[in-house]
């Protein structure tokens, strides 16, 4: 049970931890205040608690696929916020808006991942013999997930300005693509999008179940058996964010060197 808990919690924490660390590192890189983080995580986790407590009712919406619809909404919201952050970073007068959308991103990510952790932990409260090992596994899993996030934070925040910005924005683009890919998967599961056979199977190269596969999933939305619609939407969303990044990066570099 300990190992199961480590793996489950690590998966959930890693996704949120990467989004948070990249946004926090970009704040540092751009000289923005980082005071937004604490209230964003606290509000996100509070809303995650509300979501978790109402999950049975929410699941019943839309003829039994309410959970998929809400989660897809959260993912697409994160992508939208990421796109706005990239575009707005270009202008010196929109720092407050950038902070606003970073806050929104972290709130949405905390609701999505936090609610699953809360459901997992509260579910095991009714199994007192398993609960201690679940808690221990969760602490270890969170520790690993947060540590990987911290590593990425230092990687982006404390390298040369241009490199840090490129790394941070590049990772945001890929995380955003992953969010769109997950949205498509959820809407397919809910039967809003027709299910299709996989376009390819790359599980023999990187297995989604492996730690590296999980890291790639959180970082770039890696999927070993994606559908055609998923691939098209991923590519379009990554290209859109990448073009915006290029434009922002060019104007920020010009301003920095001026």
């Amino acid at each position: 049970m300990l190992l199961n808990s480590v793996i489950f919690i690590l998966r959930e924490v890693l996704e949120a931890s990467l989004i948070i660390s990249v946004l926090l590192a970009l704040s540092q890189n751009q000289g923005l205040s980082k005071g937004w983080l604490k209230p964003a995580v606290l509000l996100g986790l509070t809303l995650a608690g509300v979501y978790a407590s109402q999950l049975i009712n929410i699941s019943a919406y839309f003829e039994g696929v309410g959970q998929e619809v809400i989660n897809a909404g959260l993912h697409i919201l994160i992508y939208g916020f990421i796109l706005l952050i990239i575009v707005l970073l270009k202008y010196p007068s929109t720092k407050q808006s950038v902070i606003f959308f970073m806050t929104g991103c972290v709130i949405a990510a905390s609701i999505r991942e936090g609610s699953e952790v809360i459901i997992y932990l509260t579910g095991f409260m009714s199994a007192p013999d398993l609960f201690p090992s679940v808690v221990m596994g969760s602490i270890i899993g969170s520790g690993i997930g947060i540590s990987i996030g911290v590593l990425f934070y230092y990687l982006i925040a404390y390298v040369r300005f241009e490199l840090g910005m490129l790394l941070g924005l590049g990772l945001l683009v890929l995380i955003g693509g992953g969010m769109v890919s997950q949205t498509i998967q959820l809407l397919t599961q809910a039967d809003f999008i027709s299910s299709q056979s996989a376009l390819w199977d790359s599980s023999f190269i990187v297995d989604e179940r492996s730690l590296f596969g999980q890291l790639l999933y959180a970082l770039i939305g890696y999927e070993s058996t994606p559908s055609f619609v998923q691939v098209v939407c991923y590519v379009v969303s990554v290209l859109l964010a990448a073009f915006s990044t290029l434009s922002t990066f060019t104007s920020l570099r010009v301003r920095e060197n001026a």
Partner: protein
């Protein structure tokens, strides 16, 4: 241009499902961290609505890498997951919270 065509094609694919007819329903139960039945047999190239009843007090997450499905099911509640149309084959699934016992497979034939 190519991207535009791909987009139109994918949008067509997306809304194709609204035109589909009645979807067969299969039922799956979670009890004592086991799936009943552990083997779901469904026809080839057919979309199926799976109604899962979690009769345990603990939550479970239905997960299948082969089916690309993942859904949280709180204790003593029900959930719906659509699967297929699928090619003939065996598609394993498991309960992520109790993966040692909660295992099953979808057999498509």
């Amino acid at each position: 241009m190519v991207m535009g065509r791909l987009l139109i094609l994918s949008v067509l694919f997306m809304f194709n499902s609204f035109a589909a007819g009645a979807t067969p329903i299969v039922e799956l139960e979670i009890k004592d961290h086991l799936f009943y039945p552990a083997e779901l047999v469904i026809p080839i190239d057919t979309k199926v609505k799976v109604k899962i009843s979690n009769n345990d007090p603990t939550a479970e997450e239905f997960e299948s890498y082969e089916l690309n499905r993942e859904k949280m099911i709180p204790g003593n509640s029900q959930a719906i997951i659509f699967i297929g149309p699928l090619k003939a084959g065996v598609y394993p699934f498991f309960g992520e919270f109790f993966p040692k016992t909660a295992q099953g497979k979808v057999v498509v034939k």
